[in-house]
């Protein structure tokens, strides 16, 4: 008897150790190793040489272009944060606290704005406001303007990124408003404060932690943006850090690419850490679990101007870009007369059947995405299991390593992967595996975060109940824990897959002939100007898949607990 118990306990412990070791090894290889190689290289340390110096950074900073690109990065990040914050925050307040009519339609429009990938949004805006864009053409024809509106500027990037990111702000602040205790606002009204006073001195301070953390997230996401910055900024020679890294790598200027990557990683990492701290602080705000319906503020005579304003803004951010893309995807050739005989389905036939690279790109994106999402889902779930259910000393370090890629912009990840996987012993460069592995690293945080929430919410008593009912430890994990976290695993998988579909910087910097992805295809078509109608068709396809994915998350990603 005694021996039996001893061996059982040992079995579990050694099994823990084995699992922890294996996961740690994979994380080191996939996440830490590439970043370490990048940072060490930028500091002059590599396999071939060991002369530690800051000379690469010194050179980077003595180049005026670096300084300008840092300035530009901070400029657009600040601009986007302010604009997306005002737009998203204002809409969140209007929709959750006033009697604004048409809320449901507005929510759908905001959701649609959320599913359009930023690069595709930029393409739509080029189709509208480019030199030969619909808007400029119509305006010129009717002699409203002489000079076409120029979208190729930093402000253009700000507008597009703000439109892309404001739904995030909207969703975060809407739920913060929904969670905050309405009775606190009612108490303020009873204490004699007016509506505006209540808004400014009670409502806003209560959700301030949420405002801060979503602001930092938007700031960081904008710093990491690549596709929009490239397609809008590069034609007019406006560089930000990500595009500077890209062109340095293209020009085989590795020292500049790694030093700029180091700088971007530092900025992004700092903001990420601040964001995490703000998330932790959030727990202390007073939240109300009972759902109370707020007394809606009547808009009164402001109703009509506000409704038309909101409708106008959302038409501009969502309907017009979507319409433009769909419209262009049926055009025979970009720039042709807008008449019925120029409409065709040829673009869709091309991307699905005729154009070999397009067919391959779609297949590759789906395969790489599904593969990486599956690996990340298994790995992520294991990481969460280790960090919550085992007593390994390094379990929190393992979880941290798995969520850290959130702080790393795709561009930096691509440079790191290039350096890490180009030489033996890990010679993966110019194979699809380099893209898949980097996708896995990028997807891991989604897998971990979605599962972690459910795992932490789950009452450990549920497992105890299974033990009491006669299940062994492993059986209780299999029958109880796994099904409870399954919705999180599914959501994480879909989010990872969608990321792979719309992702550009990783694949554009790591692809080789045969491993092009949808992102590569769209990015490269821009250079041979004739491709806008084909890009549009691809864009419509990606948007459709994204909508389907999000509907699936809504449907299958919810746990049964939430129904109660």
């Amino acid at each position: 008897m005694l021996d039996l118990i001893k061996t059982k306990e040992c079995k579990f412990n050694s099994w823990q150790l084995l699992m922890g070791g294996l996961v740690a090894l994979i994380l080191i290889l996939v996440v830490l190793y590439p970043l370490a190689v990048l940072l060490l290289y930028s500091l002059g340390v590599s396999v071939h040489s060991f002369d530690f110096s800051l000379v690469k950074y010194w050179d980077a900073f003595s180049d005026i272009k670096t300084i300008i690109s840092i300035k530009n990065t901070l400029y657009i990040a600040t601009g986007v944060t302010l604009m997306a914050g005002l737009l998203g925050g204002g809409l969140a307040w209007l929709i959750s606290r006033t009697d604004l009519p048409g809320k449901r339609i507005f929510r759908v429009l905001i959701f649609l704005a959320f599913v359009i990938p930023s690069y595709i949004l930029a393409v739509a805006w080029i189709e509208l406001f480019g030199r030969n864009g619909f808007f400029n053409r119509i305006m010129k024809e009717w002699h409203f303007i002489d000079e076409p509106i120029n979208i190729y500027s930093l402000e253009g990037i700000i507008i597009i990124m703000a439109i892309h990111l404001f739904p995030l702000v909207f969703m975060s602040l809407s739920s913060a408003l929904k969670m905050s205790d309405i009775s606190l606002e009612k108490a303020s009204r009873l204490a004699g404060a007016g509506r505006l006073r209540t808004l400014l001195s009670i409502t806003v301070p209560l959700i301030m932690p949420s405002i801060l953390s979503i602001g930092l997230l938007v700031f960081q996401q904008t710093m990491a943006c690549f596709g929009v910055a490239a397609v809008i900024g590069l034609p007019s020679g406006k560089y930000i850090l990500t595009t500077r890294i890209y062109s340095a790598l293209n020009g085989l200027d590795l020292p500049m690419a790694t030093a700029s990557s180091g700088i971007l990683l530092l900025c992004s990492g700092l903001v990420f850490i601040l964001h995490n701290i703000s998330l932790r602080k959030k727990r202390y705000i007073h939240v109300n679990s009972r759902s109370q319906t707020p007394e809606l503020i009547p808009l009164g005579r402001w109703k009509i101007p506000v409704v038309s304003g909101v409708a106008g803004i959302l038409t501009l951010t969502t309907l017009i870009p979507l319409g433009t893309l769909i419209f262009s995807s049926f055009l025979k050739k970009w720039g042709m007369e807008l008449s019925l005989e120029n409409f065709t389905l040829i673009n869709y036939r091309a991307i699905f059947m005729e154009q070999a690279t397009a067919v391959r790109a779609i297949r590759n994106s789906i395969c790489f995405g599904a593969g990486a999402a599956s690996i990340a889902a298994v790995l992520g779930a294991t990481v969460v299991f280790i960090s919550n259910k085992t007593r390994l000393k390094s379990r929190k370090a393992i979880e941290f390593a798995a969520t850290w890629p959130l702080a790393v912009p795709g561009t930096v990840m691509a440079v790191a992967a290039t350096l890490a996987w180009i030489n033996p012993p890990f010679k993966l460069y110019a194979t699809p595996w380099i893209i898949i592995i980097t996708y896995v690293a990028a997807c891991l945080p989604f897998a971990v975060r979605n599962v972690n929430g459910l795992m932490q919410e789950m009452d450990p008593v549920l497992e105890n109940a299974a033990r009491i009912s006669g299940a062994s430890r492993f059986q209780s994990y299999q029958d109880i824990t796994l099904p409870v976290i399954m919705p999180g695993i599914r959501t994480g998988w879909i989010m990872s897959f969608l990321m792979a579909l719309r992702e550009i910087p990783i694949s554009i910097m790591l692809y080789s002939v045969g491993s092009e992805t949808i992102g590569v295809l769209m990015f490269n078509m821009r250079s041979d100007s004739g491709g806008l109608e084909t890009i549009s068709a691809l864009a419509v396809l990606v948007i459709l898949l994204t909508v389907i994915g999000n509907v699936l998350i809504e449907k299958f990603g919810k746990s049964r607990m939430e129904g109660s």
Binding site: N464, A471, V484, M561
Partner: protein
């Protein structure tokens, strides 16, 4: 011969002794309640019995079989103990429906599907939830969830049933109904039940025997009546019911008077005068009020009508006396009343 026997059980969390050298016997077929304030270690004790927590010292025997013993290095896993438990928040699995929840223990034991169906059907009849098999936990009310949890616990005919604050989350009426239900099922199945709660009222109305627990130790064990009538310490007296505690204080003449009066009606021992470690306990229902002047008088300060009884607070100089009287008594706040003490018990002060 005790059915379940706990000997010298200890458990520490971060240098705090949650359970301290505790021994307890429980007999077959009784409902045994463990009562104590929150944080007294009662839930930990229950989890040690279930095998969900390992004790640091001591042993536990169930029906003559050693379940855990630190000295002999024996520890039977919870799934092998045939002990069932109803958890405080019921711990129903959200991804299984009612049938799935109740049938889970049977599935583990590899019952055939038709046998599972039959047993679940019987259990649902027992807890009066026929026809609810397809519902999911979130579609059930609190009382229904409780019954499902109970049915699940009874599925494998456990040797002992543990209830961990299982009735605390129900509203008053439902609680009463479930208490009767549990008693009925316990009688029908001749179950042995250990019920842990912080609510002494609940414990009194359900249990045969009761243990009062404080700071990891058992203060008193006995039948309900014993513990209520003859509390051994000040803590038990305070914890069980509404009582007046009277200490012999030289500087408080009113309390001294009360002490002397109560001392004449002691049902246990004899009040030794002016012994500070001795406290006299007078239940609020053991005081009789009458109009006019008598040996002792006081002024009514509050009156609280409670349906079947009326609770008064009476001020005698600096001392506030709690009195429970029949609902037909008619004294008003401000009125002077005289009273007499019918019965008193003497207990040890806690700080002695």
């Amino acid at each position: 011969m005790a059915y379940a026997q706990l000997s010298n059980i200890s458990k520490e969390y971060q240098q705090v002794k949650v359970v301290n050298d505790l021994s307890l016997n429980i007999y077959q077929g009784e409902i045994f309640a463990i009562v104590g304030p929150s944080g007294c270690g009662k839930t930990t004790l229950l989890q040690i019995i279930a095998g969900l927590v390992k004790a640091d010292a001591g042993s536990f025997t169930l029906a003559g079989k050693l379940m855990s013993s630190v000295d002999e290095n024996i520890y039977i896993n919870p799934e092998k103990r045939s002990i069932a438990m109803v958890f405080q928040d019921y711990a129903l699995w959200p991804h299984y429906n009612v049938f799935g929840n109740i049938a889970y223990p049977l599935k583990i034991k590899k019952y055939s599907h038709s046998k599972q169906k039959q047993v679940v059907g019987e259990l649902l009849e027992l807890v009066r939830l026929q026809g609810m098999e397809r519902r999911y936990p979130h579609e059930l009310s609190g009382g229904e969830q409780q019954r499902v949890a109970l049915a699940r616990a009874l599925a494998l005919k456990p040797m002992i049933l543990l209830l961990d604050e299982s009735l605390s989350n129900l509203d008053a009426n439902l609680k009463k109904e479930m208490q009767e239900e549990i008693k009925r099922i316990q009688r029908d199945l001749l179950l042995t039940v250990i019920h842990v709660t912080h609510d002494q009222q609940e414990a009194m109305s359900i249990a045969d025997r009761i243990a009062i627990m404080n700071q990891g130790e058992l203060v008193q064990v006995g039948t309900i009546e014993e513990v209520y009538r003859f509390p051994r310490t000040e803590f038990v007296a305070r914890f069980m019911g509404d009582s007046n505690l009277i200490c012999p204080k030289q500087d408080n003449p009113a309390e001294m008077k009360l002490w002397k009066m109560a001392g004449q009606n002691l049902i246990n021992g004899k009040a030794r005068e002016f012994e500070s470690e001795q406290i006299l306990v007078v239940r609020s229902e053991d005081i009789k009020l009458s109009e006019g002047s008598g040996h002792l008088t006081g002024q009514i300060i509050t009156k609280n009508f409670n349906g079947s009884v009326i609770n008064y607070k009476i001020k005698i100089n600096d001392y506030i006396l709690k009195v429970q009287a029949m609902a037909d008594s008619c004294y008003e706040p401000g009125q002077e009343v005289s009273f007499s003490i019918m019965r008193a018990t003497c207990v040890c002060a806690d700080n002695s």
